[in-house]
């Protein structure tokens, strides 16, 4: 009877794919906190209470210098937010975190309180990948959380396929790699080979604190502290793991899909 059952069930449930990005983005859990904002100007003189509480040594403060927070290393535990008496480090609640340049994740000094969101690919790459992007995912020491929250984009709720983005089994069928994990020494060879097998032009996306900077394993002899040590990275998506919405935002941002939407809205066709 399952045929009838499933048909009736589907009719009752209707389309379960979220309306984002045409509609509003789904709400983050209230305790998620989103991206961090660092206002070094608010730091008390000589205070470095946030530095020792950070598990991944993402925060530094040299004597006489403003505090600096590397959101690429951040695992979003918010221990620094709790430890900061004057509120120089705060959560913004913003799910958007993907950047194109590693330095765009460095927060703190005046003018760099928040991260600088990714710009779309330009010219030829955008023409090639804008409507069809095939990615090969490589986990290189990933704990399976970044993998799971990348995988979830393929489920009916998110339906990544509607944006022309698809994960493929062979690097030879791919336009780029999506890398998770700190890149273990033991995966270095396999990752290099996978990258070499992707035809030009190609892109690399680093997902999660590990792939960006080694995450909780930064400095271990067994890891390379992120994908950039082995391959050139075009998009960094922070988190531990990044929320699926953050990953999706990053992918759409890279392909210019969010700009297109913005352009269309004033015309009323949106």
């Amino acid at each position: 009877m399952f045929v009838l059952d499933t048909l009736i069930h589907r009719l009752k449930r209707g389309c379960e794919t979220m309306s984002y990005p045409q509609g509003p983005a789904p709400a983050l859990p209230d305790r998620h906190g989103g991206a961090l904002r660092v206002d070094a100007a608010k730091c008390a003189d000589g205070c470095s209470a946030c530095v020792p509480v950070c598990p991944t040594q993402a925060i530094t403060r040299a004597p006489g210098q403003p505090v600096a927070l590397d959101l690429g290393r951040c695992v979003f535990c918010a221990a620094c937010v709790e430890a900061c008496p004057p509120g120089a480090i705060v959560q913004t609640g913003d799910y958007r975190m993907a950047v194109r340049r590693r330095e765009d994740l460095m927060l703190g000094p005046s003018g760099q309180e928040e991260l600088r969101l990714a710009e779309a690919l330009d010219g030829k790459l955008r023409r090639l990948f804008g409507r069809s992007l095939r990615l090969r995912q490589v986990s290189a020491g990933g704990c399976s959380a970044c993998e799971a929250d990348t995988n979830v984009l393929g489920t009916i709720g998110w339906d990544l396929g509607r944006f022309g983005i698809q994960f493929v089994a062979s690097p030879r069928h791919a336009d780029g790699l999506l890398i998770t994990g700190p890149v273990t020494q033991n995966m270095e060879l396999a990752l290099s080979k996978a990258w070499a097998a992707v035809p030009e032009p190609k892109i690399v996306i680093a997902v999660g604190a590990c792939a960006i900077a080694g995450g909780p394993f930064v400095g271990h002899a067994a890891v390379r502290n992120g994908a950039a040590a082995v391959v050139p990275v075009d998009l960094y998506i922070p988190g531990c793991p990044p929320h699926p919405l953050t990953i999706l935002d990053g992918l759409l941002r890279l392909l210019g899909k969010l700009e297109e939407k913005r352009e269309r809205v004033p015309g009323g066709a949106g």
Partner: protein, 493 residues
């Protein structure tokens, strides 16, 4: 059984002074351990502790029927000792690991080769077991697999479609977790524990917090224990539901696959409701929990949980209703119960072989001393049994959660956890969704970790997956592998 043992007894989530652990020369420890294993004990851990250039062996045994653990150690030695694997196969990976980590040779070990060691950008796999014959061919899969999953290498020896032998070579995910723990706890330790196996964050974080509390001689407040138990079952629900969907997908049964993919996310979002992170990161802390589950939040959780459970029930019903699914699951990838006992299989995979093995029941600690989840056992040992156990455990965990959320415990959710006591050994077992998560810590004279051993259930169970493939068609490998869904990084550490 345990009453006559020469080993020191201790309960789960307890500690004892290192000097109280009985010691024997290595050969005698091997004999004593073998005797206990013959009497029904199970090998939870077998590892080395470095001491002045030599190494001590430590054996941690579980007497499941007596609800107690037992621990013994060897005197420091170098060189070699008689292998336990020769008589007890469940020690085989432990002894390979010991050889790799401490350089002591288990004499007589039939398959002594590296577990995780690096050789030029890849693990030093060594030679694979080979079957010779005119019709025999070899298939190599991985390290990078077709889907979005972790890397590992599988080497099949096949005659036509039939798999004669499968050898799994892991180590690709090795991040140096145990090495980094020496001298700890460090700043990054908790984050590393939460990512030992990312889909088992709550179980590993709970085991770590429990070990630290046992070393400090404190107990987390009851409300925190209650909250940890809730988070642990939410973790189980998310993973079991995801796996049912993935199993359905592997036999091209799309209704359940599509539904479960989404419901899995619903369960993850419930964990995020408690602590903000879909995998439970930031929730469990030594001394309790970082977040509370206030009445209003608990009510919202319960309401959303009921909806997700109803959806799961429906999706599972389609699966079990379909003869096409049953015929693909039945008698595929069988692990016999005698094999399961012999190799020391744990958790859900063991229960699907008819073995009653569940830490929540055998070695209750934390909240499980006060509230029980019925143990799900299904005979058969095939893909069907492993899917069935998941499906039944979803029901049991769901009922448990509904009961617990309706009767919250009052009080604090966190206390200060003092520093660990010096020269002390502590053990914590937690029944993660795959099975037994085992953490053993030993402190030095300053109260820092002299040795910290982590055993993810996958360490025991990968051998089970290879046995399941024997005599099975290689085309059934995906459903066999998915029916175990073992962790690569939890094994590689």
């Amino acid at each position: 059984m345990s009453a006559e043992t020469p080993f020191a007894l201790l309960a789960n989530a307890a500690s004892l002074p290192w000097s109280d652990v009985p010691e024997w020369p290595a050969a005698d420890l091997v004999r004593a351990t073998a005797r206990e294993l013959d009497r029904g004990a199970r090998l939870c851990a077998w590892f080395g502790v470095p001491e002045h250039g030599a190494v001590r062996l430590v054996a941690l045994l579980a007497f499941d029927a007596d609800n107690t653990l037992a621990v013994g150690r060897s005197t420091p030695f170098t060189g070699s000792y008689p292998s336990l694997t020769v008589t007890h196969a469940q020690a085989q990976l432990f002894e390979r690991e010991l050889w790799e980590q401490h350089g002591v040779t288990p004499i007589g070990h039939p398959w002594l080769k590296p577990v995780r060691r690096t050789a030029a950008g890849a693990p030093a796999n060594g030679e694979f077991f080979r079957v010779d014959g005119p019709e025999v061919h070899e298939v190599a899969v991985g390290p990078i697999h077709a889907g979005i999953i972790e890397p590992g290498h599988f080497r099949f020896q096949c005659a036509g479609e039939e798999v004669l032998h499968l050898e799994v070579a892991l180590g690709y995910q090795h991040r140096g977790v145990e090495t980094a723990l020496a001298g700890g706890p460090h700043r990054a330790t908790l984050s590393q524990m939460e990512t030992v196996a990312g889909d088992t964050t709550v179980a590993h974080a709970t085991a770590y917090a429990t070990v630290l509390e046992a070393l400090a001689g404190v107990e987390a407040p009851l409300r925190a224990q209650w909250l940890r138990a809730i988070a642990l079952e939410l973790e189980r629900l998310a993973n079991h539901t995801g796996d049912l969907g993935a199993l359905a997908n592997d036999v091209a049964f799309l209704p359940t696959s599509a539904a479960c993919g989404k419901i899995r996310g619903d369960f993850l979002n419930l964990t995020a409701l408690i602590c903000g992170n879909r995998f439970g990161r930031g929730l469990v802390r030594p001394g309790g929990c970082r977040y509370d589950l206030e009445a209003e939040r608990a009510a919202q959780l319960l309401q959303r949980l009921r909806v997700a459970l109803r959806d799961t029930e429906q999706a599972a019903a389609w699966l079990w209703d379909a003869a096409s699914v049953r015929s693909r699951f039945e008698n595929v990838g069988t692990v016999f119960s005698a094999q399961a006992t012999e190799i020391g299989l744990v958790g859900m995979a063991a229960r699907a072989c008819g073995l009653v093995r569940d830490v929540r029941y055998d070695h209750p600690a934390g909240w499980h001393r006060f509230a029980q989840v019925p143990v799900v056992v299904w005979p058969g040992g095939d893909v069907f049994a492993r899917a069935k156990v998941r499906s039944l455990e979803i029901q049991r965990s769901g009922e448990f959660l509904c009961e617990q959320l309706a009767a919250p415990v009052e009080g604090e959710h966190s206390v200060e956890s003092p520093p660990p006591a010096p020269d002390t050994l502590a053990v914590a077992l937690v029944e993660g969704w795959r099975g037994e998560v085992c953490h053993v810590a030993l402190t030095d004279a300053a109260g820092r970790f002299l040795r910290y051993k982590i055993i993810d259930p996958s360490f025991h169970n990968w051998t089970g997956m290879t046995l399941a493939l024997r005599g099975t068609a290689i085309s059934d490998f995906p459903i066999c592998n998915k029916s175990f869904n073992l962790s690569y990084c939890g094994f590689d550490l």
